[in-house]
Amino acid sequence: MNISNELKVGLTIITAAVIFILGVRYFQDLPLFATTYELTAEFKDAGGLIPGNLVRVHGVSVGSVETVNISQESGKVDVTFHIDRKIIVTEGSYASVSGIDALGAVRMDLYLGPLDAAVIPEGGRIGVGEGNDLFGDLTARAPDMIEKFSEVLNGLDIVVSETGTLLSEPESDFRKTLASVKGSMAQLESLLTSERTRLSSILLNVEDATGSLKTLTAENGPAVSKLITDLSATLTTLDVELESLGEASRSLNELLAKVNSGQGTLGMLVNDPSMYNKMDSTLDGINALLADFKASPGKYLGEMKLVDLF
């Protein structure tokens, strides 16, 4: 297809125009294709606002400032701005200028009114509010701050002069204290000077002793380590012995418990009184027999042939 020159030129110019319009809208932060919504706010002080500055709602850019003109009748500044049509601006909404003019980052903040209120029509006017201009706040509070600062400085001045007086008066406590501290320091210093030789000899001795200990340890290293190994082995053996001793005592406990409860021969021996009774009566019998024997031995010995020999 042969494209005529007219068509080429026409297409190029139209494309350029479209790019131009869209580009300008893009950098103005306006929606590329949707239409925008124009509103006017009347400020007493525009605070450095210029066309092209961003308009924000809750910190989100929604449009930009179109014109900033001084109104001759009202003596105020009329600021016209465009915002995205999706933002619904109702009665009770207000605008404020914020940002720091000195840094060049001035913008307009829009605070939306309640959703159920009437919508402000296209080209309508909205109210203005106090901006959160940090720099402005600082400037407004500066006189107060300077006054306070000067008070603080005055106080400091008094403190400094009082201290000076205290120091310069020969009879002041402060001066006396300083003098006594100075005296103590001098004494301490003289003490240190006079005892310097002894102190240094003590330190030398301590150093010597430490050195000897070190040498001793280093020289007898193997012997010491063997000693420690032996000791450790002995302790291990002792541990084993103690364990078996514990076991023996446990067994003995068990045995005694059995004895107590009357189990086995020993138990019965310990716990049954009948044997004792029998033994007692047997001993009584033996006693009576011995008494009888003592009284009349013949009675018993006469029967014995051996005795007849005598």
């Binding site: 190029t12 110019i13 092209g52």
Partner: protein, 266 residues
Amino acid sequence: MKTHSSGFHPSVLILYAKKLILDPIHSFGRYSQLLFRAFGAVPEFGTYRKNLWEQMIHVGIDSMPIVMLAAAFSGAVTTVQTSYQLVSPLIPKSIIGSIVVPSMVLELGAVVTGFILAGRVGARIAAELGTMRVTEQIDAIEAMGLNSIGYLIVPRVIAGIVMFPVLYIAACFVGIGGGMLVGHIGGFVSIGEFVDGAREYFQPFDPIFGMIKCLVFGFIITSVSCFKGYYTRGGAEGVGKATTEAAVASCVFLLLADLVLAATLL
């Protein structure tokens, strides 16, 4: 006449004065006369209609690739150098965007395009018209009863005025895009930060000012080149001289106009 003590003849001074003061005024007078006649020929649309489209192709569309290339590089270089100069941690990265975009829109877009057109189109126009003049084709056109100025100069100047803004838009588009892309790829500034910064300081008057510059530059480059070509004298050598002079004079007047416009409109 008494000779000057240093052997300097007073008539030489007069010669210099004529060369420095009178000749430029003389040239300006002829230039104004040519323009006057050209403006007079604008209503004769039928004379140059066909030629106009051809010139628009030559001036505008054929220059598009080289203009876009130069603009892309100037945008990219501006981004890289701005980020190189931003060493303070207190300055946000988005400042790069707010420097590159106005630079392109206000100055680089128009001036880079202007220089390229002065070299490319200015030289071409002067060479074309110069050759036509020395080969007496212009006289032939006149002999045929056609208005040579209306036929040759008007379409070229109109093409310059119309197509320069188109080239400027292409240059800005590609330059800002190139800056953004290089900033992003090189890790100097993200596209989001770049656009944020550009929006923060964008003024709607900037592109309008750029367009005004373009109209003026387009007019200067084509009209100066036409003037140099139309009044060529001295055969092939004259054509070469006219071509060089057209490119140089276009650049000089373009810079002058740039300063005057910036001083008066900004």
